[in-house]
């Protein structure tokens, strides 16, 4: 049961669970970006795992590498926006910055 592959699979699922839980619960904008990063890491792991499971490890690794780069960009943009939000709103509390409704 505890083969290396299965351990990684559990790890992926655990990280995904933590990530989605965090997205649903977190009230701080920076923490939200962090949680997104956790999710991304889960996905990267999943891609490598998938590569291994299907025998095409090279493909898995290359996609994982590309995802690392792509989501770094997303993280940078997210954090930049977070900085601007802090400047305009004075807070990073998600409910306080939710002014648009209806």
């Amino acid at each position: 049961m505890f083969t290396p592959l299965n351990i990684i699979l559990f790890g992926v699922i655990a990280l995904l669970g933590v990530g989605f839980y965090g997205l649903l619960i977190t009230r701080n904008l920076i923490k939200v970006v962090l949680v997104l990063q956790i999710l991304i890491k889960a996905v990267i792991l999943a891609l490598i795992l998938a590569g291994k499971m299907s025998g095409n490890l090279g493909l898995g690794q290359s996609t994982a590498a590309t995802v690392i780069v792509a989501d770094t960009i997303v993280a940078v943009v997210g954090l930049a926006l977070g900085v601007q939000v802090r400047r305009r709103f004075g807070t990073l509390d998600v409910p306080k910055i939710s002014t648009l409704r209806g």
């Binding site: 997205l23 649903l24 939200v32 939710s98 648009l100």
Partner: protein
């Protein structure tokens, strides 16, 4: 030749609309000229088209799989209604020259009116159901634009949107019927539907029949969709005359008349049509009895008269309904335009504030009385012949109680008409501001229409001939004018009807003299709520807004809730797929 005429009769008014728009609001005289010029040209073209009526398509263009062939068929039904639309249209435009003088947005007004006339003729002449629907929707659009023409008045805007939504819901009926027909027949051609109606599966044919009935009822303001027409009186009066008396509301009658041979075998269809007409005629007459707004009385009267036409079709009298449609277009347009003169000069629509205008506006009084007599059905005017024809058909082919009720309706018509004429032109004198007589353009239109009420019944022979020879599926028999006149004079029902009319007049005359007979006060709550339908209308509107309010709570703006939305959607989809697999 017919192809060119058909194209002209649709395109000329649209060119006129563009010309008026190009002329710009800074040059109103030019706009008036263009409008009158193009509408009169259209009228002449439509009259010329009468000569070329045939059941063969005048234009035939293939357009691709989903759109069918574009055909225009100038048969008797189409060209007679087109002439009515174009001629009354041009008279309404001529009237508008005086009525709309000085308006800031003349260009928009004339554009919408001319665009409407072109669309109406297109609707009538179209041989392809998709294009009937296409033009149907355009007329609804123009009607909406014209009802809410005075955009600063919230009542007008609300009335316009109400009319738009109700007639559009009817339009869905036309859409559904068209597409079911297309699915089963593979063609949008009206002639195909008429020819192969019996070969359609029974449920499909029933669906089409009743969907078309819904569309017709909504467009012609019949029960249960009658609530929009009285409110539509916020429109400028020439528009009320043109669209809401003489042309657009006839589109429903046209639809029913056109498809009658296809649907007459559908169980309960004819009865439903009969009932819709009957109920509309009665409740509208009752409402007209106590209405205090001059145009509303005329609006209710229109609903009622259309009810007569629908009733006639339900009883199988297609010719009778078209004949009455012709008479009604003329006398109702006359009444509306004359009312327009009155309203324009006095500045109010409220009957209680008018009185003794007959002495100050003799010409208008005279033509209004002519129109009223035609409406009531007094011999020799056109309304008499056509209404009697309908009653005769009704006696032969509809249940006796239905006939009796329609007869009573004729009495009610006399009652409310006398009341209306009395309150406006006779009765007590009131203090009011300047009352000026009608302008020259107004007089031209009014005079021509009044002359029409004496004369149009003479065209019966021609109309009947047109319909009989160009409508292959309707099985109409040839009947001459002389034959029709003879049968009406000979029928005892005619004398019954005249008796009831006299009774109606009598009651109204007595009431005017001060005898409080058959007071209508108890009717007030029923009429206010349009016999319960205004309540339904408001319920629907409020209900929609309430649901929208509840739903807007889901747009919380909070990120956590939004993510919840994403996650729950994922779970739902996964479960759905798992269950389905």
């Amino acid at each position: 030749m017919p192809g060119i005429l058909v194209t002209l009769v649709i395109v000329l008014p649209w060119l006129g609309a563009m010309a008026v728009w190009v002329a710009r609001n800074e040059r109103p005289q030019l706009q008036h000229t263009f409008a009158v010029g193009f509408s009169v040209l259209t009228a002449i073209t439509s009259l010329m088209l009468l000569k070329f009526a045939s059941s063969e398509p005048a234009i035939h263009l293939a357009l691709g799989k989903a759109f069918g062939d574009l055909t225009f068929v100038p048969d008797g039904l189409a060209v007679s209604l087109t002439s009515i639309a174009a001629v009354v249209g041009s008279l309404a435009v001529i009237f508008s020259v005086d009525y709309m003088r000085g308006d800031q947005q003349l260009g928009r007004y004339y554009f919408l009116v001319l665009f409407f006339i072109g669309a109406m003729t297109g609707l009538l002449l179209s041989g392809n159901l998709l294009f009937t629907f296409f033009f149907w929707e355009i007329t609804a659009l123009c009607s909406y634009g014209l009802i809410s023409f005075y955009n600063d008045d919230p009542k007008a805007v609300a009335a316009g949107i109400k009319a738009l939504i109700i007639t559009q819901v009817g339009g869905v009926g036309l859409l559904v019927g068209t597409l079911i027909a297309f699915t089963n027949l593979g063609s949008f051609q009206i002639s195909d539907l008429l020819a192969k109606a019996t070969s359609l599966p029974a449920t499909a044919l029933s669906l089409i029949a009743f969907s078309f009935l819904i569309a017709a009822a909504a467009k012609s303001a019949q029960f249960p969709f009658h609530v929009w027409l009285p409110d539509a009186m916020e429109a400028p009066t020439p528009v009320s005359a043109l669209i809401h008396a003489a042309t657009m509301v006839n589109a429903g009658i046209y639809l029913l008349a056109r498809f009658y041979p296809a649907f007459e075998s559908v169980p309960a269809w004819k009865t439903s049509v009969l009932m819709v007409g009957l109920i509309s005629a009665l409740i509208a007459s009752l409402s007209a009895l106590i209405a205090t707004d001059l145009k509303r009385v005329l609006a209710y009267s229109t609903v009622s008269q259309l009810g007569y036409m629908v009733y006639a079709i339900g009883a199988g009298g297609v010719v009778a309904s078209q004949f009455h449609l012709l008479s009604h277009a003329v006398f109702k347009a006359l009444l509306f335009l004359a009312a327009g003169s009155v309203i324009h000069s006095v500045g109010t629509r409220d009957l209680r504030r008018m009185g003794r205008l007959g002495t100050r506006m003799p010409f208008v009084r005279n033509v209004f009385i002519v129109g009223s007599l035609a409406l009531v059905g007094v011999p020799i005017l056109n309304g008499f012949w056509s209404k009697e024809l309908i009653l005769e058909v009704g006696l032969e082919h509809s249940p006796i109680w239905a006939y009796a009720l329609m007869l009573i309706g004729a009495g009610l018509t006399a009652f409310y008409t006398y009341r209306m004429v009395w309150l406006v032109f006779f009765g007590k004198e009131r203090d009011y501001l300047n009352v000026h007589p009608a302008g020259p353009a107004m007089k031209v239109s009014l005079g021509l229409l009044a002359a029409g009420t004496f004369v149009t019944w003479l065209f019966f022979g021609g109309l009947n001939g047109l319909l009989a020879s160009t409508l292959p599926f309707h099985g109409i028999e040839h009947e001459s004018l002389r034959g029709m006149v003879a049968s009406i004079i000979a029928a005892p029902t005619t004398w019954f009807a005249l008796l009831i009319v006299a009774v109606g007049f009598g009651i109204s005359w007595l009431r005017a003299r001060g005898f409080a007979l058959f007071g209508g006060g108890w009717l007030n709550p029923f009429v206010e709520s349009s016999f319960g339908f205004e309540f339904l209308n408001r319920l629907f509107v409020k209900g929609t807004y309430q649901v929208a309010e509840w739903l807007s709570l889901t747009q919380t703006g909070e990120l956590n809730w939004n993510i919840l939305g994403i996650v729950s959607a994922l779970l739902v989809v996964l479960i759905a797929l798992w269950l389905g697999a």
